[in-house]
Symmetry: C2
């Protein structure tokens, strides 16, 4: 195989990266693949537990895709065996034990989303049950003999829990070693992950050195903040954009992110560099670029048109909640809380005082007003939140 | 089966015992076996690494035998699998990795000595490789899920090493769980051991409770001090009596133990209670009793006669070292050090000043004397150490 020159690869592959360990070895690895014509093997390990993929997950996937675009090979490791082990102590609720059926179902759903970004034909899929289900006891203890208790307790999360007197089950020390062992099996050159993976990735490196392999490099991506610009993107916080969302919803969510996110989202979710200096224009460009990645340029343009109609008041966002209420008379504060627009009447009152609530197109001036609900009615909070009320 | 009454059993079984955990359950277990006619299962686990059995090991074996004499069943667990695992980190020299062949050879030698004390026909021999070689990875992690890091670090030796910053390999945490798991497999009622085994034995108890079994009791014997009366009996310290020693050597060693040992040795190595109040007579009785256990009364009497001849100066002990020297003239201090009687000339000089060294039957008065060595010569240090020098 022939690969693009080193500098061309590096300029793309380093984009958005938080840390490479060891930094100096990435260029060497790439140069070696150019010299030998052998693609690098880029590892990503996933737990088949949470199949709903959002933009936070795609940061790493996009980096995999960039490696593929230069001709390298992705190896996706599905932790089917790890998921079946789960947490035998029952303490850790984020590690439920899954049946083989559930695991396979989750893995399938995950891959459908994964391959929206990563090229299937340059991906090798491996299930770690292939090797761990056959690993005998003495090999397990040999693996465990590769690390000390003190080293394991240096891992930040273990350190914190140990210091705080929270129980750490002994089997939890095995997961990092399993992940590390995977690197030997698949002869990984580069392992990708968030920075929380650093400890495990470096253990893989050490095991490979013991095994006489050219050790992998850790390439760590930053955590993507959610649409609110404050917390890590997460489904449970509601600040996420899923890769399965419709073009309209995806455009709407991206177009309306916090201003502070424009730079990091551009860097982590696109390869474009020439965004406008005007923040609103930049957001539109960003939303167009991202939606086009998933649905093509035409769909992105169409979504942009509909978003414009919403902002000009001619159309509602396609994800506008519709709430059925019994016909009758309501206090305006009660109404706003009962449709879910506010968590408390106090919040609703403050927004009304700031002229931030419209009902049927008119600004609500009196927080103590009574309203008759007997037909469809649009409630708008701030610029972009809409509720359709009907009876 | 019928068993002797509870009190009769307890009076023997409690003899010399350091601790029973939990104390109150032993009587219940024994009473249950009397009521049901089912013998108790008494577990002892051994590493097949050190096949040379000395009196220190027999303390526990004698207790097993007492259980057998009341009709109970001994289960000897040979840690063949544990020995083959050894110490994969290579840090712990007391845990070498052994081949299956070595393990079996050691186990055979061990059993030859073990069955000098324990009855073969009431002993079930189990190899832990039978279950551990077939244990899959997920079962190993389940076993590990039964304990936390903090609990494991409560074990005294781990605690000390961790506190001192000495490395503890992760696999070392698996050994106690293996031992504990053995108790489930063999449905142990009582596990015997030294007090250093307390942690492991109690883990076995907990695993049995999880498994719904009637949990085992830990019965802990004290550590036997060596012939010097100061340190734990050990081959490497030279203060041991092996069960394979000849009647003469065994008698000689027991007869010459430190005075302070007479009581504990009587309690731990015999069932006799009526030893003489005169310390020398008591030592003779003790040596006669012990040698008779291994070789019969006649052999014990004969050994006692020969020991008497040695002490009256008519005979040398049968284990007297014989040292060949080149004929010639020697400074007396050089001679004493070169035959191994003293570690340094300073020590030799002090002993000479105390009139503690005889050569050819004469007390050496001058530490600076020259000696001609040209024929066989007996060197005596103190009352009981002899060296035969020849050219």
């Amino acid at each position: 195989m022939t690969f693009p020159p080193l500098q061309e690869q590096l300029s793309v592959l380093m984009r958005g990266v938080l840390e490479i360990v060891p930094q100096e070895e990435l260029a060497k690895k790439i140069q070696k693949s150019i010299d030998t014509g052998i693609p690098l093997r880029i590892k990503l390990g996933v737990d088949p537990t949470a199949p709903d993929v959002h933009f936070g997950h795609t940061v790493v996937m996009r980096k995999l895709r960039q490696f593929q675009d230069f001709g390298h090979q992705v190896v996706l490791i599905v932790g089917d065996y790890t998921a079946m082990i789960g947490d035998p102590s029952g303490r850790n609720k984020t590690r439920p034990r899954l049946s083989h059926e559930q695991v396979m179902e989750n893995a399938k759903e995950y891959q459908e989303q994964f391959f929206k970004i990563v090229k299937r034909e340059q991906t090798e899929i491996r299930y770690n049950g292939d090797w761990f289900s056959k690993m005998p006891f003495d090999k397990v203890t040999e693996l465990m003999g590769s690390i000390t208790i003190a080293q394991m307790l240096e891992r930040k999360d273990f350190q914190t829990r140990y210091a705080e007197g929270q129980p750490i089950s002994l089997h939890e020390f095995v997961y990092p070693l399993m992940q590390a062992y995977d690197s030997i099996v698949i002869k990984s050159d580069v392992e990708l992950g968030g920075t929380d993976q650093k400890f495990n990735v470096l253990r893989g490196r050490e095991l490979q050195i013991r095994e006489g392999q050219d050790p992998q490099i850790g390439l760590f991506m930053p955590i993507l903040l959610g649409t609110d610009g404050e917390q890590k993107m997460s489904k449970s916080l509601g600040n996420y954009v899923g890769v399965n969302e419709s073009p309209d919803v995806m455009f709407h969510k991206v177009y309306n992110i916090a201003d502070s996110l424009v730079q990091s989202w551009s860097e982590l979710l696109t390869v474009k560099n020439d965004f406008s200096k005007d923040i609103l224009v930049a957001k539109r460009e960003l939303a167009l670029d991202i939606v086009a990645q998933y649905y093509g340029t035409d769909a992105a343009q169409a979504a942009a048109e509909r978003e414009k109609a919403i902002h000009s008041g001619n159309e509602l966002p396609s994800d506008t909640p519709e709430i059925k209420l019994a016909a009758g008379s309501y206090g305006v504060l009660d109404l706003l809380v009962s449709i879910g627009a506010f968590a408390s009447k106090g919040e609703a009152r403050r927004m009304i005082q700031n002229s931030g609530v419209k009902i049927g197109g008119n600004i609500v001036a009196d927080a103590n007003a009574q309203l008759t609900v007997d037909k469809e009615m649009i409630v708008q909070v701030g610029k972009r939140k809409f509720y359709k009320v009907f009876t």
